[in-house]
């Protein structure tokens, strides 16, 4: 009897092997249980040209070396777990395809945060920066019975910065952040922007005070690394400039 599979099987397994390509994956490894120093490992695997790099890493982990460690979850660019330095650029491993980097790709942990094991870094300093800018709507003017009104134009004003998934690709691509742990970094400013320019929020001044301090927005040297790195296409540098201008001219 025919089952669902006879019909619906998308059938990677039946795909002829000539469709696959060879990809050499070079990974900077680190595990203090093994060695104080990092080292490089290299594997060559065959995969579909459209295979996501995160799935290539799984192929290595599941069939070659189970100790290879990295964070991942959704595998389609929405959870923000798998930001890595891929061929020198911060990207999400689930948004890079094998054919984009073949025949050879070099993967390292994102910079500026302590490496804990292989591609896993300590996210706590990053999350502390996020928490420091009061990342929640503040409005003490009493709650309406239904929704607060907001015009489509006012809603559009901060649309870009609502897309942030806190993957840290921007912050860990920033040379200022590498050199100074105190700097809150682009992602925290993006999230401050999201509230400062939300017509429903009343704490813009408070956030701008936080961001005008020496760890704040004026550390930015406008190198645009953050904008290039953002996997969500947020114009990060522009958002930072808008916050700077708002502080200088108290206009928002």
């Amino acid at each position: 009897m025919a089952t669902a599979a006879d019909v619906l099987d998308a059938s990677d397994r039946e795909r002829p092997t000539t469709d696959t390509i060879a990809l050499t994956v070079r990974v900077r490894r680190f595990n203090p249980e093994v060695s104080e120093d990092s080292w490089w490992d290299e594997w060559t695997v065959r995969c579909d040209p459209l295979e996501r790099l995160v799935e290539v890493l799984h192929q290595i982990k599941w069939h070659h070396d189970g100790t290879l460690s990295f964070r991942r979850s959704c595998a389609h660019g929405i959870c923000g777990s798998d930001a890595m330095l891929i061929n020198g650029r911060n990207q999400l491993a689930c948004k890079v395809l094998a054919q984009d980097v073949a025949p050879r790709v070099t993967i390292e942990p994102i910079r500026g945060l302590s490496v804990l094991k292989d591609l896993i870094v300590d996210m706590d300093p990053f999350m502390d920066g996020y928490r420091s800018i009061l990342p929640y709507l503040i409005n003490d003017s009493g709650e309406p019975e239904k929704e607060r009104r907001q015009s489509p134009e006012d809603r559009h004003r901060y649309d870009d910065t609502t897309k942030c998934i806190l993957c840290a690709a921007c912050t860990t691509s920033c040379p200022v952040f590498w050199g100074d742990e105190g700097y809150v970094g682009p992602a925290a400013i993006v999230n401050a922007h999201r509230f400062i320019f939300d017509s429903r929020d009343e704490a813009g001044r408070e956030r701008m005070k936080i961001l005008s301090e020496k760890t704040g927005v004026f550390r930015c040297r406008t190198t645009f690394n953050c904008t290039d790195a953002c996997p969500r296409g947020i114009e990060v540098t522009k958002a930072i400039q808008e916050v700077k201008r708002a502080i200088l001219f108290e206009r928002f």
């Binding site: 599979a5 019909v7 619906l8 998308a10 059938s11 929704e147």
Partner: protein, 579 residues
């Protein structure tokens, strides 16, 4: 060596349901949230199209119509009082999210905008209705972010990258706490608490083609199942019709809500034949089966004839840009297809578990046909079964389920802990967990977990997907038995303590095997077709015998016992499902 922590209430899982419960709890008692991911990585963030509530902002609507659609969409396996409660409370839940800052799209006069979604209709099926509140096609992302922001505001205590591996109960069955594995150190922690809320999400990773994150491995259902709690309606698993071909990445139903259509390889809009009234906006189970039928009759496309197409190329590019930006990008990145110009290859993808841990409408876990309450134990969201989704969930009702029942569970648990005493765990509560981990870590040679996982996923996709039969399910049951034997011998290469994801993934595989066992057992006994569960050897719904929920119990000898409990009926009498 384990560390012991004591709280009034614990929430296991940092997605929408867990965070909503935590907001309610943290203001009233000592609360901690354990999450195996950083909470903002949770899969609630992947939900796209919207969250329904009969606000009536764009056109006339009522919670009663919403309840009817939910019951009919669920093919009458829905507990009707629960559905009515959810659709009534939906309205305040949405306003509350807005007041917490959720950036909904707006109508010209500044109110929350609403759009159409599958199975949501005006006046009991007359025509599609605009009921889904949305934030572009990233509504789930905005709900997750907004709830996390509110947790930051309340300074909720998080244990990030802590993985719950056991539920502790006393001799009387009351909740004592949990045991968790700290990923960063490999250390075990015992958490004592009066109340535990499970909110661990689904288990779509048992199928090869799925929209689900790698993390969705049925942890909560499996952990409680191993401790004597039954699982309800596990055979009811939703296959979403529009997954990206080959990958399963979700393309939101919002694409069809905005006017997108599904085409076969002949370019025919075939849903006109299957659901003449609402066509492409028929519920997901019907569209998935229609796709299956088209493919079976030779009207599929792609190299193996197993794709159909989602076409949005006739829509205004401005609408696509503003309302469907993310899914458009998915097609461009992963399939190298330009949705503005050409149809996107799609196939059904394993999407959502309607079944799970049985609860009442306060999120309390209930056992048996008489629904005996397990003191202090709660479950919310996809890991739970209230049941508001019955045999087939309507689009957007999952996000609604999270906020409505997350709040209710948190509220009830906060009241419970005020009166309950903190129970004392047994002397070495972590012992069974230690044995589980040491068993895996101790073997130097054995089976490969990756291969077992691949075989599970391939076979579940082949044998227990959109169309099932006694033959396919019996075969799957035999395969599961042999996979489990191999799993008992599994060995891993990483023996370290620090971020041992090799170990964690292997434990997750064991949970997936448990959930697959329960799913197949339920699917085998249910000799009818209802909602997402389609048996080609029993193609009709059989209300005389099967208008009831299944409860699967794991017996001590490893076998599965099935019990039943009645569906809670209400005003809606089962009738043939036509759209």
């Amino acid at each position: 060596m384990t560390t012991t922590h004591t709280y009034d209430a614990l929430v296991v899982g940092g997605g929408g349901g867990g965070l909503r419960a935590a907001i309610e709890l943290s203001e009233r008692c000592r609360t901690a949230v354990l999450s195996k991911l950083y909470p903002t990585r949770s899969h609630t963030g992947a939900a796209q199209g919207g969250v329904c509530a009969a606000l009536g902002n764009v056109e006339e609507d009522s919670p009663e119509w919403h309840a009817f659609d939910t019951v009919k969409g669920g093919d009458y396996l829905v507990d009707q009082p629960a559905a009515r409660l959810m659709t009534e409370e939906a309205i305040e839940a949405i306003y509350q999210l807005e007041r917490w800052g959720l950036p909904f799209n707006r109508t010209p006069d500044g109110r929350i905008d609403q759009r159409r979604f599958g199975g949501h209709t005006r006046n009991h099926g007359e025509a599609p209705v605009k009921r889904a509140c949305y934030a572009a096609d990233r509504t789930g992302h905005m709900i997750l972010q907004t709830l996390y922001q509110q947790c930051v505001k309340r300074d909720v205590r998080f244990f990030n990258e802590f993985y719950c591996l056991d539920l502790l109960r006393d001799d009387a069955g009351a909740t004592v706490g949990i045991v968790a594995f700290e990923l960063a150190t490999g250390e075990l922690h015992t958490f004592r608490a009066k109340a535990v809320v499970f909110a661990t999400g689904g288990y779509g990773r048992m199928f090869r083609v799925t929209s689900n994150a790698h993390a969705l491995t049925g942890d909560g259902p499996a952990v409680v199942w191993r401790r004597g709690i039954p699982l309800e309606d596990m055979e009811m698993f939703q296959f979403h019709p529009t997954g990206l071909a080959r990958l399963g990445v979700l393309l939101s139903e919002a694409a069809r809500g905005e006017g997108g259509i599904v085409l076969n390889s002949e370019g025919e809009r075939f849903m006109e034949r299957y659901a003449p009234t609402i066509k492409d906006l028929a519920p997901r189970d019907m569209v998935s089966r229609a796709i299956y039928q088209e493919i079976k009759e030779g009207r599929g496309g792609g190299p193996n004839g197993d794709w159909v197409y989602l076409d949005i190329s006739h829509l205004d590019p401005k609408v696509i840009e503003e309302k469907l930006p993310d899914i458009t990008e998915f097609a461009r990145i992963y399939l190298k297809v330009e949705p503005l110009d050409e149809p996107v290859p799609i196939q059904p993808t394993a999407h959502y578990a309607m079944g799970g841990i049985p609860t009442d409408t306060d999120g309390r876990v209930v056992v048996g046909a008489d629904e005996d309450v397990v003191p202090g134990l709660y479950a919310v969201g996809e890991c739970a079964c209230v049941s508001v989704h019955g045999a087939n969930r309507l689009g957007t009702n999952s996000l609604l389920d999270l906020v409505v029942f997350g709040r209710r569970a948190g509220d009830d648990a906060a009241r419970f802990v005020r009166e309950a005493d903190l129970a004392t765990p047994s002397e070495h509560p972590e012992q069974p967990t230690l044995e589980l981990l040491d068993g895996i870590l101790g073997r130097t040679t054995g089976d490969n977990a990756g291969e077992i996982r691949t075989e599970l996923q391939d076979n579940m996709f082949d044998l227990a997907f959109v169309v099932r039969s006694d033959e396919s399910l019996t075969k799957m049951q035999q395969i599961l038995t042999s996979l489990r034997e191999r799993y008992e011998r599994v060995a891993i290469t990483d023996k370290g303590a620090r971020y041992n994801t090799d170990l964690m993934e292997t434990v997750e595989l064991g949970y997936l095997l448990d959930c697959a066992d329960a799913l197949v057992a339920g699917a085998l006994v249910r000799t009818e077709s209802r909602g997402a569960h389609f048996r080609e050897d029993h193609p009709l719904r059989d209300d005389a015998n099967w208008l009831k929920h299944t409860l699967a119990y794991r017996e001590r000898d490893g076998s599965i016992r099935i019990e039943y409990k009645p569906v809670k009926m209400g005003p809606y009498v089962p009738m043939e499902r036509k759209y």
